[in-house]
Symmetry: C2
């Protein structure tokens, strides 16, 4: 039911995913969902409708959505995962509510201190995973390490990267650059089994030279929205400049296909939402404005995550690093003493 | 002597500024500076050479530059300001060293807890001031307030904005969104005399709807470098796509002027460096790769700052808000108790 366009976008996207062999449960208002389904060819597809009478609105607070709207589509969907009827949930609705229901209804994998949102960003080369893009603020060094471990699993088992390089987002490449949290996290990452390349700077994300970039959710959310905003503003300014003369208008017309390909490369929506990592299952948070294609991609990401047992690999990787991420960092030891 | 191209770029830029009536002192290697000057028409211009025997290299650490290179061009230039021979300094050299020499050699205005770097960013409408872009990390709420007050002065007296709107960079517009520091800073801003519009999100910077955006230097530096990196990567991807067919190549050729105007609008270098606010005088930190035009603009920014007595206004504004930024925030009170 979520997203700016509701079932009208989500149902066709889900049907498209079902055509690729994925079992789909559509959760929400039965009448509306059936109306959309009736317009599509669904013969032989594995599609179930799971009724839910409520809808979380974009302006609802996550905590309220969790407590008061027990029969909302997102809560019902998360219970459906929790009860073992589905392996994951995909939503274009209220992001905060999806994160909250994911954390509290589906629940965390043992050992995960804080689930984190990963975003798969387009770059000059292959996509880069930025984590956390907003599930947490004021993260501690050991949380950052866990974000890195979880994103490493995503990069390996969903994106198919062999030995993903992992960097910490900071304000200089050298060790010792950054705020107090990053400086402490640097030590933890160095002692981990990750392919840690040190600090990454803001400009390194879009060159595609690093596969996973780790940061606190406050920084990551700002980075993500800033990127979306800048890309959109650059497009607007470019359009404005191209419209100024008939010559450049003609030029733009001739370059139309190139512009379209460009848009596709830089459009984050093509990459299919932000997976919330660390749950017993998977939840993918999509942009409210997601296109049908973006929604289908998000479903495929969730399916690949499940099919490749990323969830089990995540548990193993966290267990291996339990000592490092136990939260007994130097700072805490000394403040305890 | 600083910057990737040294006197070869800086001397012509300074001469250009001198032609607009500004008194210039060129600090560094006399022979090299004279060689550059001899190739330009400097008749009737107010240009002095101040000799300095050392150069801070890009890889030098700020603290070392400060302690060991007492006769470096940046230190000599800052002493020249301190001693009252000049009102401000402009450098394209090692940013950390410029910030350190600015803070410790020129010195802070009374009441300034932490000088901060402001960056003037291009947007869809008029430029936006982002502060702090890297002079500080782990800033406290009262530091953020001071950043806002100082950037307000810059927006009024250098950019000429009448009643600049000021926002705190956060992860949601509503009050209560953000990390612990931002939440506490929100109260301080609300009680200030600033035209405070609440939280601003990453996407609000480039629309041009807010005049001043305040954040910690860790976040701001990442935001700035991310923007530069994304803009550069988008340009590369666009070029790559335009080169794929002769039709789009022709189109690009016809749109050449539009592309050039676009580049000018989105090029941060056009806006002339990042002023370090809060000093007894002004220091402008320029990108190492700055063009002559960017350097000239940086000198003009510094001159406008001085001519409009921004420095005195800054002292007044800080004095007015002394109670708010005294550092006796609730958190500190309770931790002291």
């Amino acid at each position: 039911m979520g997203g700016d366009f509701g079932p009208h976008i989500i149902v066709p996207a889900a049907v498209q995913a079902a055509r690729q062999g994925i079992s789909i449960a559509l959760v929400g208002d039965e009448t509306k969902i059936e109306a959309e389904l009736s317009q599509l060819d669904t013969k032989g597809l594995d599609i179930t409708i799971v009724p839910a009478s409520q809808v979380v609105e974009m302006e609802d607070k996550p905590a309220d959505a969790l407590r008061r709207k027990k029969d909302s589509s997102i809560q019902v969907a998360c219970r459906y995962v929790k009860d073992g009827h589905a392996d994951g949930v995909v939503s274009a609705g209220n992001s905060g509510a999806t994160v909250a229901c994911g954390m509290f209804t589906i629940g965390r994998v043992k050992g995960v201190q804080r689930p984190a949102l990963a975003s798969v960003l387009p770059t000059e080369k292959k996509p880069c995973v930025l984590i956390d893009v907003g599930a947490n603020v004021d993260s501690k060094p050991e949380h950052l390490l866990q974000f890195g471990l979880m994103a490493d699993v995503l990069a390996r088992y969903v994106l198919g990267y062999e030995n993903p390089s992992v960097g910490i987002l900071s304000i200089g490449e050298e060790e010792g650059k950054g705020n107090a949290t990053v400086k402490e996290a640097f030590e933890l990452f160095r002692n981990s089994q990750l392919n840690f390349i040190g600090n990454a700077e803001g400009r390194d994300i879009f060159t595609g030279d690093v596969d996973v970039v780790v940061c606190d959710g406050f920084v990551g959310n700002i980075a993500l929205k800033l990127s979306e905003g800048l890309a959109s503003s650059m497009n607007k300014i470019m359009k404005r400049e191209l419209k100024r003369s008939w010559l450049s208008k003609l030029g733009a017309l001739l370059s139309y296909r190139a512009f379209r390909r460009f848009k596709k490369v830089v459009d984050y929506a093509e990459y299919g939402g932000a997976p919330l990592l660390g749950l017993k299952g998977i939840a993918v948070v999509c942009h409210g404005k997601s296109s049908p294609k973006a929604m289908t991609n998000a479903i495929l990401v969730a399916a690949r995550y499940v099919a490749n047992q990323a969830h089990a690999h995540l548990a193993t990787e966290l267990e291996t690093h339990r000592g490092l991420s136990a939260g007994t960092t130097d700072a805490e030891k000394s403040s305890a003493a």
